[in-house]
Protein backbone atom coordinates (compact mmCIF):
# COMPACT_ATOMS: atom_id res chain seq x y z
CA UNK A 1 0.00 0.00 0.00
CA UNK A 2 1.38 3.38 -0.94
CA UNK A 3 2.05 5.96 1.74
CA UNK A 4 -0.41 8.37 0.13
CA UNK A 5 -3.25 5.83 0.15
CA UNK A 6 -2.48 5.00 3.76
CA UNK A 7 -2.66 8.67 4.77
CA UNK A 8 -5.84 9.25 2.77
CA UNK A 9 -7.51 6.16 4.26
CA UNK A 10 -6.63 7.11 7.81
CA UNK A 11 -7.59 10.76 7.20
CA UNK A 12 -10.90 9.73 5.66
CA UNK A 13 -11.81 7.46 8.56
CA UNK A 14 -10.84 10.04 11.18
CA UNK A 15 -12.63 12.87 9.35
CA UNK A 16 -15.85 10.90 8.99
CA UNK A 17 -15.69 9.79 12.61
CA UNK A 18 -15.31 13.45 13.65
CA UNK A 19 -18.22 14.39 11.39
CA UNK A 20 -20.33 11.67 12.96
CA UNK A 21 -19.54 12.89 16.47
CA UNK A 22 -20.25 16.51 15.50
CA UNK A 23 -23.57 15.59 13.87
CA UNK A 24 -24.76 13.61 16.84
CA UNK A 25 -23.69 16.31 19.30
CA UNK A 26 -25.48 19.00 17.28
CA UNK A 27 -28.62 16.89 17.08
CA UNK A 28 -28.46 16.13 20.80
CA UNK A 29 -28.05 19.82 21.73
CA UNK A 30 -31.03 20.75 19.61
CA UNK A 31 -33.35 18.36 21.42
CA UNK A 32 -36.58 19.90 22.58
CA UNK A 33 -39.61 21.18 20.78
CA UNK A 34 -39.18 20.29 17.16
CA UNK A 35 -41.25 19.35 14.15
CA UNK A 36 -43.92 21.80 13.15
CA UNK A 37 -43.66 23.71 16.43
CA UNK A 38 -40.83 25.56 14.74
CA UNK A 39 -43.47 27.22 12.58
CA UNK A 40 -45.00 28.88 15.60
CA UNK A 41 -41.81 30.63 16.63
CA UNK A 42 -41.51 33.10 13.83
CA UNK A 43 -38.71 35.71 13.63
CA UNK A 44 -39.15 38.35 16.30
CA UNK A 45 -36.58 41.05 15.76
CA UNK A 46 -37.49 42.47 12.39
CA UNK A 47 -39.86 45.04 13.87
CA UNK A 48 -37.15 46.68 15.98
CA UNK A 49 -35.39 48.40 13.17
CA UNK A 50 -37.18 51.74 13.67
CA UNK A 51 -35.88 52.38 17.19
CA UNK A 52 -32.47 51.02 16.21
CA UNK A 53 -32.30 53.47 13.33
CA UNK A 54 -33.36 56.35 15.52
CA UNK A 55 -30.73 55.40 18.09
CA UNK A 56 -28.08 55.76 15.40
CA UNK A 57 -28.95 59.31 14.34
CA UNK A 58 -25.64 61.12 13.55
CA UNK A 59 -27.12 64.40 14.84
CA UNK A 60 -27.15 62.93 18.34
CA UNK A 61 -23.51 62.14 18.12
CA UNK A 62 -22.48 65.62 17.04
CA UNK A 63 -24.74 67.12 19.72
CA UNK A 64 -23.11 64.99 22.43
CA UNK A 65 -19.65 65.82 21.08
CA UNK A 66 -20.49 69.54 21.21
CA UNK A 67 -22.07 69.55 24.66
CA UNK A 68 -20.45 66.62 26.49
CA UNK A 69 -16.97 66.53 25.06
CA UNK A 70 -14.98 64.05 23.02
CA UNK A 71 -14.84 61.36 25.69
CA UNK A 72 -18.60 61.13 26.00
CA UNK A 73 -19.02 61.12 22.22
CA UNK A 74 -16.49 58.29 21.97
CA UNK A 75 -18.36 56.31 24.56
CA UNK A 76 -21.66 56.89 22.80
CA UNK A 77 -20.17 55.78 19.47
CA UNK A 78 -18.90 52.60 21.08
CA UNK A 79 -22.24 51.81 22.66
CA UNK A 80 -24.09 52.47 19.43
CA UNK A 81 -21.80 50.08 17.65
CA UNK A 82 -22.60 47.44 20.28
CA UNK A 83 -26.31 48.00 19.70
CA UNK A 84 -25.89 47.46 15.97
CA UNK A 85 -23.82 44.33 16.49
CA UNK A 86 -26.40 42.91 18.83
CA UNK A 87 -29.12 43.69 16.37
CA UNK A 88 -27.15 42.01 13.60
CA UNK A 89 -26.87 38.83 15.61
CA UNK A 90 -30.62 38.88 16.23
CA UNK A 91 -31.24 39.33 12.51
CA UNK A 92 -29.02 36.35 11.92
CA UNK A 93 -31.03 34.23 14.32
CA UNK A 94 -34.21 35.34 12.52
CA UNK A 95 -32.73 34.23 9.24
CA UNK A 96 -31.76 30.87 10.76
CA UNK A 97 -35.28 30.51 12.04
CA UNK A 98 -36.69 31.04 8.56
CA UNK A 99 -34.33 28.45 7.17
CA UNK A 100 -35.41 26.04 9.89
CA UNK A 101 -39.02 26.55 8.88
CA UNK A 102 -38.10 25.88 5.27
CA UNK A 103 -36.34 22.67 6.28
CA UNK A 104 -39.27 21.41 8.31
CA UNK A 105 -41.58 22.11 5.39
CA UNK A 106 -39.27 20.15 3.10
CA UNK A 107 -38.93 17.36 5.64
CA UNK A 108 -42.64 16.86 5.88
CA UNK A 109 -43.28 17.13 2.21
CA UNK A 110 -43.75 14.00 0.10
CA UNK A 111 -41.78 15.54 -2.73
CA UNK A 112 -38.90 17.95 -2.76
CA UNK A 113 -36.83 19.39 -5.52
CA UNK A 114 -33.10 18.79 -5.40
CA UNK A 115 -32.44 22.06 -7.18
CA UNK A 116 -34.43 24.05 -4.63
CA UNK A 117 -32.72 22.26 -1.80
CA UNK A 118 -29.31 22.82 -3.29
CA UNK A 119 -30.12 26.45 -3.95
CA UNK A 120 -31.26 27.01 -0.40
CA UNK A 121 -28.15 25.34 0.98
CA UNK A 122 -25.95 27.44 -1.28
CA UNK A 123 -27.77 30.64 -0.34
CA UNK A 124 -27.60 29.95 3.33
CA UNK A 125 -23.86 29.26 3.16
CA UNK A 126 -23.31 32.46 1.17
CA UNK A 127 -25.50 34.37 3.56
CA UNK A 128 -23.52 33.20 6.56
CA UNK A 129 -20.22 34.00 4.92
CA UNK A 130 -21.21 37.48 3.85
CA UNK A 131 -22.94 38.11 7.11
CA UNK A 132 -19.68 37.42 8.90
CA UNK A 133 -17.95 39.91 6.58
CA UNK A 134 -20.58 42.56 7.26
CA UNK A 135 -20.25 42.02 10.96
CA UNK A 136 -16.50 42.40 10.73
CA UNK A 137 -16.88 45.66 8.86
CA UNK A 138 -19.27 46.96 11.47
CA UNK A 139 -16.88 45.87 14.13
CA UNK A 140 -14.01 47.81 12.61
CA UNK A 141 -16.13 50.80 11.70
CA UNK A 142 -15.87 50.76 7.90
CA UNK A 143 -18.82 52.74 6.56
CA UNK A 144 -18.84 51.52 2.94
CA UNK A 145 -20.46 48.11 2.91
CA UNK A 146 -21.55 46.80 -0.46
CA UNK A 147 -21.76 43.35 1.12
CA UNK A 148 -24.94 44.30 2.92
CA UNK A 149 -26.65 44.89 -0.40
CA UNK A 150 -25.73 41.46 -1.70
CA UNK A 151 -26.83 40.03 1.61
CA UNK A 152 -30.22 41.58 1.09
CA UNK A 153 -30.35 40.24 -2.47
CA UNK A 154 -29.72 36.79 -1.15
CA UNK A 155 -32.59 36.96 1.26
CA UNK A 156 -34.87 38.14 -1.52
CA UNK A 157 -33.71 35.32 -3.75
CA UNK A 158 -34.39 32.85 -0.97
CA UNK A 159 -37.87 34.26 -0.54
CA UNK A 160 -38.61 33.85 -4.23
CA UNK A 161 -37.29 30.31 -4.22
CA UNK A 162 -39.35 29.51 -1.18
CA UNK A 163 -42.46 30.91 -2.80
CA UNK A 164 -42.05 28.74 -5.91
CA UNK A 165 -41.25 25.67 -3.87
CA UNK A 166 -44.18 26.25 -1.58
CA UNK A 167 -46.54 26.69 -4.49
CA UNK A 168 -45.44 23.33 -5.88
CA UNK A 169 -45.62 21.69 -2.52
CA UNK A 170 -48.93 23.25 -1.70
CA UNK A 171 -50.63 21.33 -4.47
CA UNK A 172 -49.35 17.91 -3.59
CA UNK A 173 -48.15 18.09 -0.05
CA UNK A 174 -49.18 15.70 2.62
CA UNK A 175 -47.71 16.52 5.98
CA UNK A 176 -46.57 13.81 8.32
CA UNK A 177 -47.02 16.36 11.04
CA UNK A 178 -49.00 14.36 13.56
CA UNK A 179 -46.78 11.34 13.58
CA UNK A 180 -43.62 13.42 13.47
CA UNK A 181 -44.69 15.50 16.41
CA UNK A 182 -46.06 12.58 18.37
CA UNK A 183 -42.92 10.54 17.99
CA UNK A 184 -40.75 13.50 18.94
CA UNK A 185 -42.56 13.68 22.22
Amino acid sequence: MSGAFFIVSVGFAVALAALLVWTLRTAHRRRGPGGLSVLESAPQHLCNMGPIRRSQDPADLSYVARRGGRELAKRLRRERKNVILLYLSFLRSDFEQLLRIARVVALLSPEISSSYEYERLRLSLLFRGRFALVKLRFLFGDAAMPQVTSLGEMVTSLAIRMETAMETLGERAALAANVALQSER
Binding site: F6, A13, G34, Q56, I112, A159, M162, V179
Partner: protein, 266 residues
Amino acid sequence: MPSVLSALPTLDLALWAATTLVTVVLLCLILARRLDQKFPFLTAYLGVNLLQTLAQVVVYEIYGIRSNVTYAAVWGSQAVVILARAFATGEFCYALLGRYLGVWALAKRILLLSSAIVLGLSIYFGKDGFRYGVMTLEIASEAFILTLVVGTFLFANYYQAEMQRNLVLLGIGLGLNSCVKILNDAVLTRYLSGYDGVWNEVAMTTFAVVLLFWIGAMRATSTVHVPKPELASADLYRTLAPQMNRRLLELNEQLIQLWKLEQPKP
Protein backbone atom coordinates in the same frame (compact mmCIF):
# COMPACT_ATOMS: atom_id res chain seq x y z
CA MET B 1 -12.59 -28.45 21.22
CA PRO B 2 -11.30 -28.32 17.61
CA SER B 3 -7.52 -28.26 17.48
CA VAL B 4 -7.51 -24.93 15.60
CA LEU B 5 -9.23 -23.23 18.53
CA SER B 6 -7.00 -24.74 21.17
CA ALA B 7 -4.02 -23.50 19.16
CA LEU B 8 -5.21 -19.89 19.44
CA PRO B 9 -3.63 -17.55 22.01
CA THR B 10 -5.74 -17.24 25.17
CA LEU B 11 -6.72 -13.63 24.52
CA ASP B 12 -7.82 -14.39 20.96
CA LEU B 13 -9.77 -17.40 22.12
CA ALA B 14 -11.50 -15.37 24.84
CA LEU B 15 -12.37 -12.59 22.40
CA TRP B 16 -13.60 -15.07 19.83
CA ALA B 17 -15.81 -16.77 22.43
CA ALA B 18 -17.09 -13.42 23.73
CA THR B 19 -18.03 -12.01 20.32
CA THR B 20 -19.71 -15.27 19.31
CA LEU B 21 -21.64 -15.39 22.56
CA VAL B 22 -22.72 -11.73 22.33
CA THR B 23 -23.79 -12.24 18.70
CA VAL B 24 -25.95 -15.18 19.77
CA VAL B 25 -27.43 -13.09 22.60
CA LEU B 26 -28.22 -10.26 20.20
CA LEU B 27 -29.78 -12.60 17.68
CA CYS B 28 -31.90 -14.20 20.41
CA LEU B 29 -32.97 -10.75 21.63
CA ILE B 30 -34.03 -9.77 18.11
CA LEU B 31 -35.98 -12.98 17.59
CA ALA B 32 -37.56 -12.90 21.06
CA ARG B 33 -38.81 -9.35 20.53
CA ARG B 34 -39.83 -10.13 16.95
CA LEU B 35 -37.64 -7.32 15.73
CA ASP B 36 -36.52 -9.42 12.77
CA GLN B 37 -39.56 -8.08 10.94
CA LYS B 38 -38.39 -4.54 11.59
CA PHE B 39 -34.71 -5.22 10.86
CA PRO B 40 -34.62 -8.21 8.50
CA PHE B 41 -31.26 -7.30 6.97
CA LEU B 42 -29.58 -6.74 10.32
CA THR B 43 -30.89 -10.11 11.47
CA ALA B 44 -29.64 -11.74 8.29
CA TYR B 45 -26.25 -10.08 8.72
CA LEU B 46 -25.88 -11.43 12.26
CA GLY B 47 -26.91 -14.87 11.06
CA VAL B 48 -24.39 -14.75 8.21
CA ASN B 49 -21.75 -13.60 10.68
CA LEU B 50 -22.35 -16.58 12.93
CA LEU B 51 -22.32 -18.94 9.98
CA GLN B 52 -19.03 -17.45 8.86
CA THR B 53 -17.54 -18.11 12.29
CA LEU B 54 -18.63 -21.75 12.16
CA ALA B 55 -17.45 -22.15 8.58
CA GLN B 56 -14.07 -20.68 9.47
CA VAL B 57 -13.55 -23.19 12.25
CA VAL B 58 -14.40 -26.05 9.88
CA VAL B 59 -12.14 -24.73 7.10
CA TYR B 60 -9.24 -24.08 9.46
CA GLU B 61 -9.69 -27.54 10.92
CA ILE B 62 -9.66 -29.28 7.53
CA TYR B 63 -7.17 -27.22 5.50
CA GLY B 64 -5.07 -25.55 8.18
CA ILE B 65 -4.47 -21.84 8.71
CA ARG B 66 -1.86 -21.22 6.00
CA SER B 67 -3.45 -23.05 3.05
CA ASN B 68 -4.59 -21.24 -0.11
CA VAL B 69 -8.02 -22.81 0.16
CA THR B 70 -8.43 -21.34 3.64
CA TYR B 71 -7.33 -17.91 2.41
CA ALA B 72 -9.83 -17.95 -0.45
CA ALA B 73 -12.65 -19.35 1.69
CA VAL B 74 -12.15 -16.90 4.54
CA TRP B 75 -11.94 -13.81 2.37
CA GLY B 76 -14.75 -15.06 0.13
CA SER B 77 -17.01 -15.43 3.14
CA GLN B 78 -15.87 -11.99 4.33
CA ALA B 79 -17.20 -10.52 1.07
CA VAL B 80 -20.60 -12.06 1.79
CA VAL B 81 -20.53 -10.70 5.35
CA ILE B 82 -19.67 -7.17 4.16
CA LEU B 83 -22.40 -7.34 1.54
CA ALA B 84 -24.89 -8.38 4.22
CA ARG B 85 -23.73 -5.47 6.40
CA ALA B 86 -24.11 -3.08 3.47
CA PHE B 87 -27.74 -4.18 3.18
CA ALA B 88 -28.18 -3.75 6.94
CA THR B 89 -26.76 -0.24 6.55
CA GLY B 90 -29.29 0.49 3.81
CA GLU B 91 -31.96 -0.69 6.20
CA PHE B 92 -30.67 1.74 8.83
CA CYS B 93 -30.70 4.61 6.32
CA TYR B 94 -34.27 3.83 5.37
CA ALA B 95 -35.35 3.48 9.00
CA LEU B 96 -33.98 6.94 9.78
CA LEU B 97 -35.14 8.86 6.72
CA GLY B 98 -37.62 6.59 4.93
CA ARG B 99 -40.78 8.07 6.37
CA TYR B 100 -39.88 11.54 5.12
CA LEU B 101 -40.73 10.73 1.54
CA GLY B 102 -39.33 13.80 -0.17
CA VAL B 103 -36.09 13.92 1.77
CA TRP B 104 -35.59 10.17 1.39
CA ALA B 105 -36.02 10.35 -2.38
CA LEU B 106 -33.29 12.99 -2.52
CA ALA B 107 -31.05 11.45 0.14
CA LYS B 108 -30.90 7.95 -1.31
CA ARG B 109 -29.70 9.27 -4.65
CA ILE B 110 -27.03 11.48 -3.12
CA LEU B 111 -25.91 8.89 -0.58
CA LEU B 112 -25.61 6.10 -3.12
CA LEU B 113 -23.78 8.31 -5.56
CA SER B 114 -21.29 9.66 -3.02
CA SER B 115 -20.71 6.22 -1.50
CA ALA B 116 -20.18 4.70 -4.94
CA ILE B 117 -17.65 7.44 -5.74
CA VAL B 118 -15.80 6.72 -2.48
CA LEU B 119 -15.85 2.97 -3.27
CA GLY B 120 -14.56 3.51 -6.79
CA LEU B 121 -11.82 5.91 -5.72
CA SER B 122 -10.68 3.59 -2.92
CA ILE B 123 -10.39 0.63 -5.29
CA TYR B 124 -8.71 2.68 -8.00
CA PHE B 125 -6.10 4.37 -5.83
CA GLY B 126 -5.66 1.46 -3.44
CA LYS B 127 -4.81 -1.19 -6.03
CA ASP B 128 -1.44 -2.49 -5.09
CA GLY B 129 -1.05 -5.98 -6.46
CA PHE B 130 -2.57 -9.21 -5.29
CA ARG B 131 -0.95 -9.20 -1.89
CA TYR B 132 -3.09 -6.45 -0.43
CA GLY B 133 -5.95 -6.75 -2.92
CA VAL B 134 -8.41 -8.09 -0.38
CA MET B 135 -7.41 -5.44 2.13
CA THR B 136 -8.02 -2.71 -0.44
CA LEU B 137 -11.41 -4.19 -1.24
CA GLU B 138 -12.29 -4.34 2.43
CA ILE B 139 -11.17 -0.74 3.02
CA ALA B 140 -13.20 0.37 0.00
CA SER B 141 -16.30 -1.50 1.17
CA GLU B 142 -16.00 -0.12 4.67
CA ALA B 143 -15.54 3.39 3.27
CA PHE B 144 -18.74 2.84 1.27
CA ILE B 145 -20.65 1.83 4.42
CA LEU B 146 -19.15 4.62 6.54
CA THR B 147 -20.13 7.22 3.93
CA LEU B 148 -23.69 5.89 3.93
CA VAL B 149 -23.95 6.04 7.71
CA VAL B 150 -22.41 9.49 8.18
CA GLY B 151 -24.29 10.87 5.18
CA THR B 152 -27.60 9.64 6.58
CA PHE B 153 -26.90 11.27 9.93
CA LEU B 154 -25.93 14.49 8.15
CA PHE B 155 -29.18 14.50 6.21
CA ALA B 156 -31.19 13.82 9.35
CA ASN B 157 -29.36 16.57 11.19
CA TYR B 158 -29.70 19.11 8.37
CA TYR B 159 -33.44 18.56 8.05
CA GLN B 160 -33.79 18.18 11.80
CA ALA B 161 -35.45 14.84 11.32
CA GLU B 162 -36.23 12.87 14.39
CA MET B 163 -33.39 10.56 15.42
CA GLN B 164 -34.78 7.77 17.54
CA ARG B 165 -32.41 6.46 20.18
CA ASN B 166 -32.38 2.93 18.80
CA LEU B 167 -31.44 4.16 15.33
CA VAL B 168 -28.72 6.41 16.70
CA LEU B 169 -27.19 3.45 18.54
CA LEU B 170 -27.52 1.25 15.46
CA GLY B 171 -25.85 3.90 13.30
CA ILE B 172 -23.05 4.49 15.79
CA GLY B 173 -22.37 0.74 15.80
CA LEU B 174 -22.25 0.54 12.02
CA GLY B 175 -20.09 3.67 11.74
CA LEU B 176 -17.70 2.64 14.49
CA ASN B 177 -17.28 -0.81 12.99
CA SER B 178 -16.42 0.53 9.54
CA CYS B 179 -14.22 3.30 10.86
CA VAL B 180 -12.07 1.01 12.99
CA LYS B 181 -11.89 -1.57 10.21
CA ILE B 182 -10.52 1.02 7.79
CA LEU B 183 -7.90 2.17 10.32
CA ASN B 184 -7.06 -1.39 11.33
CA ASP B 185 -6.63 -2.61 7.75
CA ALA B 186 -4.68 0.47 6.72
CA VAL B 187 -2.25 0.09 9.61
CA LEU B 188 -1.91 -3.65 8.96
CA THR B 189 -1.06 -3.25 5.31
CA ARG B 190 1.43 -0.50 6.10
CA TYR B 191 3.15 -2.06 9.10
CA LEU B 192 2.46 -5.75 8.52
CA SER B 193 5.32 -7.25 10.52
CA GLY B 194 4.70 -5.38 13.74
CA TYR B 195 0.93 -5.29 13.67
CA ASP B 196 -0.31 -8.68 12.47
CA GLY B 197 -0.55 -10.01 16.02
CA VAL B 198 -2.71 -7.12 17.20
CA TRP B 199 -4.92 -6.75 14.11
CA ASN B 200 -7.28 -9.60 14.91
CA GLU B 201 -7.61 -8.59 18.54
CA VAL B 202 -8.45 -4.98 17.64
CA ALA B 203 -11.07 -6.20 15.14
CA MET B 204 -12.70 -8.57 17.62
CA THR B 205 -12.68 -6.06 20.50
CA THR B 206 -14.30 -3.44 18.27
CA PHE B 207 -16.90 -5.91 17.10
CA ALA B 208 -17.74 -6.78 20.71
CA VAL B 209 -18.26 -3.07 21.49
CA VAL B 210 -20.37 -2.67 18.35
CA LEU B 211 -22.53 -5.61 19.38
CA LEU B 212 -23.12 -3.96 22.73
CA PHE B 213 -24.31 -0.80 20.91
CA TRP B 214 -26.67 -2.93 18.86
CA ILE B 215 -28.00 -4.70 21.93
CA GLY B 216 -28.74 -1.24 23.33
CA ALA B 217 -30.40 -0.34 20.03
CA MET B 218 -32.61 -3.42 20.02
CA ARG B 219 -33.57 -2.89 23.65
CA ALA B 220 -34.52 0.71 22.86
CA THR B 221 -36.60 -0.30 19.84
CA SER B 222 -40.27 0.04 20.47
CA THR B 223 -42.39 -2.91 19.49
CA VAL B 224 -45.48 -0.73 19.45
CA HIS B 225 -46.82 -0.25 15.96
CA VAL B 226 -46.25 3.30 14.74
CA PRO B 227 -49.08 4.41 12.46
CA LYS B 228 -48.28 5.70 9.02
CA PRO B 229 -47.99 9.46 8.71
CA GLU B 230 -51.32 11.21 8.54
CA LEU B 231 -51.81 13.47 5.59
CA ALA B 232 -52.55 17.06 6.45
CA SER B 233 -54.33 19.67 4.44
CA ALA B 234 -52.40 21.44 1.75
CA ASP B 235 -53.85 24.67 3.19
CA LEU B 236 -51.02 24.65 5.68
CA TYR B 237 -48.56 25.23 2.88
CA ARG B 238 -50.70 27.86 1.25
CA THR B 239 -50.94 29.79 4.49
CA LEU B 240 -47.36 29.25 5.35
CA ALA B 241 -45.84 30.33 2.06
CA PRO B 242 -46.91 33.99 2.11
CA GLN B 243 -46.08 34.28 5.81
CA MET B 244 -42.57 33.04 5.29
CA ASN B 245 -42.05 35.12 2.22
CA ARG B 246 -43.29 38.22 3.97
CA ARG B 247 -40.89 37.62 6.83
CA LEU B 248 -37.97 37.01 4.51
CA LEU B 249 -38.76 40.20 2.68
CA GLU B 250 -38.98 42.05 5.97
CA LEU B 251 -35.59 40.73 6.88
CA ASN B 252 -34.28 41.87 3.55
CA GLU B 253 -35.80 45.29 4.12
CA GLN B 254 -34.14 45.55 7.50
CA LEU B 255 -30.76 44.69 6.09
CA ILE B 256 -31.10 47.29 3.39
CA GLN B 257 -32.01 49.87 6.00
CA LEU B 258 -29.00 48.82 7.96
CA TRP B 259 -26.90 49.47 4.90
CA LYS B 260 -28.44 52.92 4.41
CA LEU B 261 -27.65 53.66 7.98
CA GLU B 262 -23.98 53.16 7.34
CA GLN B 263 -23.79 54.98 4.00
CA PRO B 264 -20.86 57.38 3.83
CA LYS B 265 -21.99 60.75 5.00
CA PRO B 266 -21.94 63.60 2.52
